[in-house]
Symmetry: C2
Subunit: 622 residues, 2 copies
């Protein structure tokens, strides 16, 4: 227990919920890490797409970034409205379900779930990838490093939202600080140098242009850059983790996150243009990330550079944390609607949805193991899920406002309508431009998930129909059960079973299977002396002995056969089989297949509704 | 079921035992494969040791082989006597235990068990190794091939002794025939050529001599060659598989096996001398086995050569079969003496000791997987176990005859005494010469096995002391149990549990844990209407409702706590907990952790001796 407490913290009472809720400063890391970390890879992804343009790419990154920021604000404003409309933690699932119907809701939920799992795997392996490329000696440990970070994130999140917020505050603000200083410093230098600042250190050689700036190229750059928007959903899903006044706090957190992100995106685009920073071909010698070039250009390769790189690396790999906040909450909402088993809605010892956290950890762990800790190939699958959820959520809000009678409904409808169109178009662009790279897989997995969800609910409903009953208990005619005691010898286990049987029913049959057993004593000749007479002497009816031969040396077959025949001969009677079980109070007790355990399982599987199983345990050193 | 029957054959009645017993012709493959296959690697091992002598090695192989054959006959004559003295399947374990005491018996048993497991792994991988060196395209499939052969052997042996004998007859006799023809043909050619026959094909170049024939070198050659003797033990262990007249049949089988083996060993030594066949350095280019050279020298590389090689390959890998015959029998004897769990003494559907066969298969499978199907490094561990068993068995027979009053006791004592000295010396030589190569591991594992055996028996005895009781049943004052029904809602599962409870006892408590559960209905206000009144109306005492709050949202903790307190408040009463269980009659039912299953296990582990667990199953579509 002490280790458990050390690792996960003490149990929290349900009444302690309020103390676990968080404010703006610690909320930003919890729900914003994912979005903010996007600044590290969104512009990079867009610039990489623009590589064929060579030096020209810095000209086009500006307009592309402008478009991305426009979409960002559209999405943000929409979610700002969602937070107000669904303070219980809306998110796309709830919004789509409530306004568009169950099917669109499940579509959004599936897309989100896939996205969250991918985010964990991709973020961790991106962070580790950056670390490994800085320290090549660690290369053989890529997968173990990924799994260590995954385990760390899992434990931190199992400790509760508050501790996650506190732990992730430092890297988050360090990241924002470093990039902010670099961007502001760069802009000041640009202004001082009349738009043409000189990099502190020579930047990598820019590859020559090999292509014209076709519309398709720009669209693909935009689609790639839109990965910067994944994670914006997080706040609206996690509204209940904020302390009161919840709604304004959540809305303010969202808008601050978005503002910082927009500032970072714009800053990167501006410096890219003024310093002439392009992407370097990934996976080739001389590769250097855009942010690394940017920091070097503005302030050189000093201590600040290494601090910045460390902050980026931490934030990128820890950005997986946002998934840990949101995935369990989406699962909880699904569980409340019976699309997932109820355990997903139970809060664990630290008031978080333990089951969802563990499942997320397992799924992304499997992804990491399968891909050996290098998940580049998963990245194209990424943004599809997020934008599908965005679009459905916006569309849902449109329908929401149509039914609403609030004063600002018309304006809100317009806003969300515009958002729906923009995110919908972006979704189409992303799906088309990334289809062959892996987006098809997302498109394939989503329906399977929807099928799973509906199958679970159908099953749950079917069970409910069979077992639900209202009204007072109707009591049929009840007679004492026929008791069967499988017994090879008259040892203390058997005697205990007989005592219990005598206290329950006058109709007891001890069954001895004459299998090839070392320990079987033939009781038939002594039964009267051993059991019948002692029972009758104290006024009980005598238990009978039934000896069943076993031609094939089997034990279970003849026993189950006897019980079946007994049931057939006494319709309407309950057959209670007493299984004396020898128990050692050790965890490994359940590792070995004991005869008693096998018998109990076989009786469950092959017995009928009239068979009841009674386990009388016997403890060593009782 | 049909698949099972196809694979393993129909179930055999215990009364069909006699039909499963075998005679000489099919017995030889079952108990002799291991010994006979030794002809393929014993001389090879001795000649490989003599490699430093170059061409001189063919001079010394004769005397070394003579010594080996002498030991062979000593051992064989000793086991011949053992068969008569212990017709129930003696083997070293029984002989050593009966005559020398339990500890030497366990020593012999451990040595034998290790030997049998090693034999399976080494034989299979040797056969596959030969196949792979002939067809290098199969090299990547070394391990799968090994496992396929292992699976084949396992299935054949699970089908019973008789079917194994029939299946292995063909390769065994083909092997004996091919080698016999080669040896006889070679001897005839030698005689015709006045001792200097010309090989049909040029033999590999003989490496120059690099060492003198020191006594130590010859002793090591002898020790290596003694691996040819492993497997001789088999017949004496497996006497019960022979049909009547059992003893003469087993003795005849043993002597025929030994005679054939001696003939093969002598033949190889003679042809090695007359044709000048030496070993080639193993693991190097140009390696060719001694038997391969021999067949080529006598009859060239024709069809006969390939048939012979195929026969050798089959016999080598199938020689693992002997372990499958004997290992389960040694385990059975150990189980009868409580040194292993009783299941090892139960005969399965085909009248063989299923459990022993499966365990042997698993253990050797693990060895194969761990060593990737290449078990060369295990070979030095090999002969130590066999010779330890031989020596103990001979020594045991010496003590046996000392107490005997039979007429030939003195002569027999002398024979076994000589045997004990010779095998003992051989054991010392093998252990010393192979100690650093791996024999130390055997020396290390043997005591661990002995410890395991004695620990199992001690545990078994301890349990027996606690649970054994003789005399008639004493019946204490019995009162109806207090019945506890954990219940979150009043669904059909709960109603069934209530019915059963009402039929057993007037003291029923339905316990509702107010954890954070989606499906909990608060029953406290309606209990009287729902349950109490209906029960009282038909004359039962009303079940009580107990509501237990759960501050930490746990379900099991508060429930177990309530049951514990209830037990403390009512000492001497049995607490019967009814666990309603929802069951799907599918094999995967047990794969998922159901709450009912968890509760039952927790009650077993944390409940006390006064707690009894009653499982009332509810079947879907009941």
């Amino acid at each position: 227990m002490p280790l458990k407490e050390l690792l996960f913290g003490r149990r929290l009472r349900t009444t302690e919920e309020q103390a676990e809720q968080i404010g703006l400063s610690s909320g930003m890391p919890v729900v914003g890490l994912d979005a903010l970390a996007s600044a590290a890879y969104g512009p990079e992804a867009a610039l990489t797409m623009l590589l064929p343009l060579g030096a020209l790419s810095v000209v086009y990154i500006g307009p592309v970034t402008l478009f991305i920021i426009a979409v960002l604000f559209t999405v943000a404003i929409s979610y700002r409205q969602t937070i107000e409309a669904y303070p219980q933690g809306g998110g796309s699932y709830t919004v789509a379900k409530e306004n568009l119907g169950v099917a669109p809701g499940l579509l959004a939920a599936s897309a989100l779930c896939i996205d969250y799992v991918l985010n964990v795997a991709v973020a961790i392996s991106a962070g580790v990838g950056a670390l490994v490329s800085a320290m090549p000696a660690l290369l053989p440990y890529t997968l173990p490093l990924c799994l260590v970070i995954l385990a760390f994130l899992t434990v931190v999140n199992l400790r509760g939202v508050r501790s996650a917020g506190l732990i992730f505050m430092f890297p988050t603000y360090l990241f924002i600080g470093c990039l902010g200083i670099t961007i502001l410093g760069g802009i000041v230098k640009t202004l001082l140098a009349h738009g043409h600042p000189v990099p502190v250190e020579q930047l990598p050689h820019i590859a020559p242009s090999t292509s014209l700036a076709t519309a398709w190229l720009l669209i693909r750059a935009f689609a790639s850059g839109c990965t910067a928007l994944t994670g914006i959903e997080a706040v609206s899903n996690a509204v209940p983790i904020f302390r009161e006044p919840r709604i304004p706090l959540a809305r303010r957190t969202l808008m601050i996150i978005v503002a910082i992100l927009a500032f970072l995106l714009a800053g990167v685009a501006i410096l890219s243009h003024s310093y002439g920073i392009t992407a370097t071909p990934p996976g080739q010698a001389g590769y250097q990330s855009v942010l690394s070039q940017m920091v070097i250009a503005v302030s050189g390769r000093g201590v600040f550079y290494f601090v910045s790189m460390a902050a980026i690396l931490m934030v990128v790999s820890l950005s997986a944390d946002t998934s840990f906040t949101d995935f369990p909450r989406v699962c909880r909402l699904l569980a409340l609607d019976q699309f997932l088993p109820p355990v997903f809605a139970h809060r664990g010892r630290r008031l978080v949805y333990t089951y969802g956290i563990v499942v997320l950890s397992l799924l992304s762990g499997i992804l990491l193991v399968v891909f050996g800790g290098i998940t580049d190939r998963l990245i194209p699958m990424f943004a599809v899920g997020a934008f599908m959820a965005f679009t459905l959520s916006q569309l849902g809000m449109v329908f929401h406002w149509r039914r609403s009678h609030e004063s600002h409904a018309a304006r809100s409808l317009l806003l969300n309508g515009a958002g729906a169109v923009i995110t919908g178009l972006t979704l189409v662009v992303i799906t088309i431009s990334k289809f062959t790279e892996g987006a098809w897989l997302t498109i394939l997995i989503i329906p399977s998930l929807i099928l799973l969800f509906t199958a679970l609910r159908r099953r749950e409903n079917k069970i409910a129909r069979e077992i639900d009953e209202v009204g007072p208990l109707k009591i049929p005619h009840l007679s004492a059960p026929i008791i069967v005691i499988p017994m090879q010898r008259l040892d203390r286990l058997a005697r205990k079973a007989l005592w219990f049987a005598l206290s329950l029913s006058p109709d007891i049959r001890a069954v001895q299977i004459l299998a090839e057993e070392m320990k079987t004593e033939d009781l038939s000749h002594q039964w009267s002396y051993l059991v019948e007479r002692p029972a009758q002497e104290v006024g009980y009816s005598a238990p009978r002995l039934v000896v069943v031969p076993s031609a094939y040396r089997e034990y279970f077959g003849p026993l189950l056969g006897y019980i079946k025949n007994l049931g057939a001969a006494h319709p309407g009677r309950v057959i209670a089989v007493i299984v004396p079980e020898f128990v050692e109070k050790r965890w490994y007790h359940f590792l070995f297949p004991h005869r008693a355990a096998l018998l109990k399982n076989l009786l469950l599987l092959r017995g009928g509704p009239h068979v009841v199983i009674i386990d009388t345990p016997w403890y060593l050193r009782e």
